[in-house]
């Protein structure tokens, strides 16, 4: 067995051990009871959260997904925290990752501010609406919708193709008027790539839905941003990935304020999560050289599929359907 396979098996074993641990059974029980006494072992959940988010940070980098999309379904499915706080923390996890990456991507001219400005106006506005709707709906309905969305993300990850430099015969009128185009140097191809976009009105309209879902579920939205920017609007893959990451810093800012103003921030959850994800991301970047991305990607899909089914199960159980 090669070192890549061993690394993959190690990650799979780690996640299985975490998800099957008896601690999760305690998490389920904790939801059902609220003991009125002081708990001397209160620190165990933040410590477990720190460890799990560290692993999540590693896997997110290796699997090419944002931390938020793993955080919300897994933490809401297997930890005792209420979904309201998990979504608030999930937004802050995604926001911090985007804030950390944003400056470098902008300076390297890989994230395009001109492409981001119109998209962010729509996505940030709709994220506010999504956050308000998400906080107004009963928890089991949000849980059910979250499960469906996560399973939809799994389908997108399984089926969506990517195009390094999509063929854009001509820029559309709107993107021409807004001068949304650019040049970047691709070291792999050793050439400067001139890029422009098309189907701008349709792409912008899609961000109405993406922004809404980002705010409603606290997921971040890289899983949707990249396919729309790359496949629908025709931005090169590198520009799409970088702009998507930067966009999260704006979309998640608007929704994060709604969650924060509503009181959905518990520092004992948020800070360990941010530290865990960030440390995990640092380690993940270093492991990227030796890990087998295909295996990790399949593992991420499997974890998300499991977490999506768990969210559906929770929602349907509360509704008395199963």
């Amino acid at each position: 067995m090669g070192s890549n396979s061993r690394g993959g098996v190690l990650f799979a074993s780690l996640m299985c051990a975490l998800l099957m641990s008896p601690a999760w059974a305690l998490a389920e029980e904790a939801v059902a009871m609220t003991p009125p006494v002081a708990d001397a072992t209160w620190w165990k959940w933040p410590v477990i959260l720190l460890f799990v988010t560290f692993v999540m940070g590693v896997i997110a980098v290796l699997g090419g997904v944002g931390g938020g999309v793993l955080f919300v379904p897994i933490i809401s499915g297997f930890f005792p925290f209420h979904l309201d706080f998990v979504r608030g923390a999930g937004l802050l996890v995604a926001l911090s990752g985007a804030l950390a990456a944003g400056p470098g991507l902008l300076k390297a001219n890989l994230a395009s501010l001109r492409l981001s400005i119109p998209v962010a106006l729509i996505a940030a506005t709709m994220a506010i609406v999504g956050a308000m709707v998400g906080l107004a709906l009963p928890t089991h309905i949000v849980q059910l919708a979250l499960g469906g969305t996560i399973l939809g993300i799994v389908v997108i990850m399984l089926t969506a193709k990517k195009s390094a430099v999509p063929d854009v015969p001509a820029a559309d009128n709107l993107s021409s008027a807004l001068r949304i185009c650019g040049i970047y140097h691709d070291p792999a191809m050793n050439q400067d790539i001139n890029w422009k976009i098309h189907r701008t009105p349709a792409g912008l309209a899609t961000f109405i839905i993406i922004g809404f879902m980002a705010g409603m579920f606290g997921l971040g939205a890289g899983w949707a941003n990249v396919p729309v920017l790359n496949l629908m609007m025709g931005a090169p893959l590198k520009i799409s990935v970088a702009t998507s990451k930067f966009l999260l810093s704006i979309t998640d800012t608007s929704a994060a304020w709604i969650y924060m103003n509503k009181g959905c921030v518990i520092p004992m959850m948020v800070v360990p999560s941010l530290i865990g994800i960030m440390l995990g991301s640092f380690v993940g970047v270093r492991l990227l050289k030796v890990a087998k991305p295909t295996f990790i990607r399949w593992m991420v899909i499997a974890i998300l599929g499991f977490a999506g089914l768990k969210a559906l199960h929770k929602g349907l159980t509360v509704m008395g359907i199963i």
């Binding site: 708990d39 209160w42 005792p80 040049i183 509503k262």
Partner: protein, 148 residues
């Protein structure tokens, strides 16, 4: 309006990146400091550390009502910017770095708007201004509630 397209980031893009970078580092360092003050017990917290596990499984409105009734005894539960009045408490002090991280983008937008208009980039300037207003409204609590 400049029409030249180069490999280099635009002036606005670099300005935005520099402000974002400073705000991000400031927020993250502040978060580590405020969290250390909280968990070490140097600052007292509204909800005692040993009791926090009794509250984090509640829906947010029940959580706020419970901590208000059990610890704060205020007229209103602490939503919106009420955390500013509780900065002496370790748990609510941690809202400060979160606000910095969530606020830096608004500063970035506000900073690039004048330059965009000055260069005659009116459409982008208007959209950036509109986004700054949307974010400001969300932050203020005017949109989305919690403004008391």
């Amino acid at each position: 309006m400049s029409t030249e397209i180069t490999k280099e980031a635009t002036v606005e893009q670099l300005l935005y990146a520099n402000i974002l970078e400073k705000g991000m580092y400031f927020g993250l360092v502040s978060m580590i400091i405020t969290f250390a003050l909280y968990v070490s017990g140097i600052l007292p917290s509204v909800v005692p550390l040993g009791e926090i596990a009794n509250y984090w499984n509640m829906p947010v409105h029940e959580y706020l009502e419970a901590i208000n009734q059990n610890f704060l005894q205020r007229e209103h539960a602490p939503t919106g910017w009420a955390w500013l009045t509780l900065l002496g408490k370790g748990d609510f002090l941690n809202f400060l770095p979160v606000a910095i991280l969530a606020g830096v983008t608004i500063v970035c937008y506000a900073a690039i708007v004048p330059g965009l208009f000055r260069r005659g980039d009116k459409a982008m300037g208007l959209m950036a201004l509109a986004t700054a207003i949307v974010l400001f409204l969300a932050a203020s609590g005017i949109v989305g509630g919690g403004a008391h």
